[in-house]
Symmetry: C3
Subunit: 138 residues, 3 copies
Amino acid sequence: MKSYRKELWFELKTRRGFVNITHELERCVKESGIKEGLLLCNAIHITASVFINDDEAGLHQDFENWLEKLAPEKPYSQYHHNGFEDNADAHLKRTIMGREVVVAITDGKLDLGPWEQIFYGEFDGKRKKRVLVKIIGE
Amino acid sequence: MKSYRKELWFELKTRRGFVNITHELERCVKESGIKEGLLLCNAIHITASVFINDDEAGLHQDFENWLEKLAPEKPYSQYHHNGFEDNADAHLKRTIMGREVVVAITDGKLDLGPWEQIFYGEFDGKRKKRVLVKIIGE
Amino acid sequence: MKSYRKELWFELKTRRGFVNITHELERCVKESGIKEGLLLCNAIHITASVFINDDEAGLHQDFENWLEKLAPEKPYSQYHHNGFEDNADAHLKRTIMGREVVVAITDGKLDLGPWEQIFYGEFDGKRKKRVLVKIIGE
């Protein structure tokens, strides 16, 4: 069994945003030399997400509006977590979007559907944050 | 290390619905010959879900009502994604329900709790769609 | 390839609550002797969750309030599932929080970020319930 580990770094200029990381993960799979296995990709931070969906700007705007409706950023005072911090909403938004994805590796490639794209979801940006990539297989 | 891959096909007559795929996944495990490992089962499409819960009709009706409350299908015009398409709500509903499950394989069987059943969740049906099954182990 | 399996037992005195299980999972990793691999930890019951977030009491109170807003426990009669049971809300809450986490094992340790802590999330307690730990790797 082979294993591979890599960290990807992000620093968004905005509080929230989505970054397509599919190509970077394809490079990781190639670099790993693993032909058959599983790839885990998870946010290392608890106010960010890794998720799979469509790379379509309208949908991303819908996600932003929807998450703000389900877990509004403001008023900050509505959350117990927001004493020294103001990011309780980011913890809740990331819970909806998920911490991680597990993707099959087949024939040395990410085994994704035709519209599946992998995103880093930032909900408390303007700082350096990381994603972990771990691959096991053969 | 062994690996196994299979696609399951679905074509629901309705826009939304849940299909119990536990038995099909058990057959995959048997076919794979893998005794100890992990099974990944994910929707290949981004308006569908694979999730684990109870096989109880009342609960499934509750899921339908609840998802319609959290991410209503109509009016279609409320979503930016709905220009040529009308399925933005399906992307959101699948986000709540999840893209994938990872299940342990122990002694050549799905290592599930007594009430755990695995479902395909369709949120934009009336077309052919697929689920990926990938198993690695020994 | 090595594999390892363990069940963790819980019996909360309250209907809902979060239990930090990070240390127990670290012990599982050590016990397994696996240095590189993947750990799956999932609730065996369908009204409970395993999730990763911050170990901060204010945030946990925010989760409780937020889940009660998204999927209220009462009135019980609002849910079709609640004939003989009263726990439909627990199935929905666990859906938001997730059934499982997959965590990388690197150098014989859980490969977690500095604030990542793993929790058992109970939504229908006052009874014995279990979590499954499965590790594969080398």
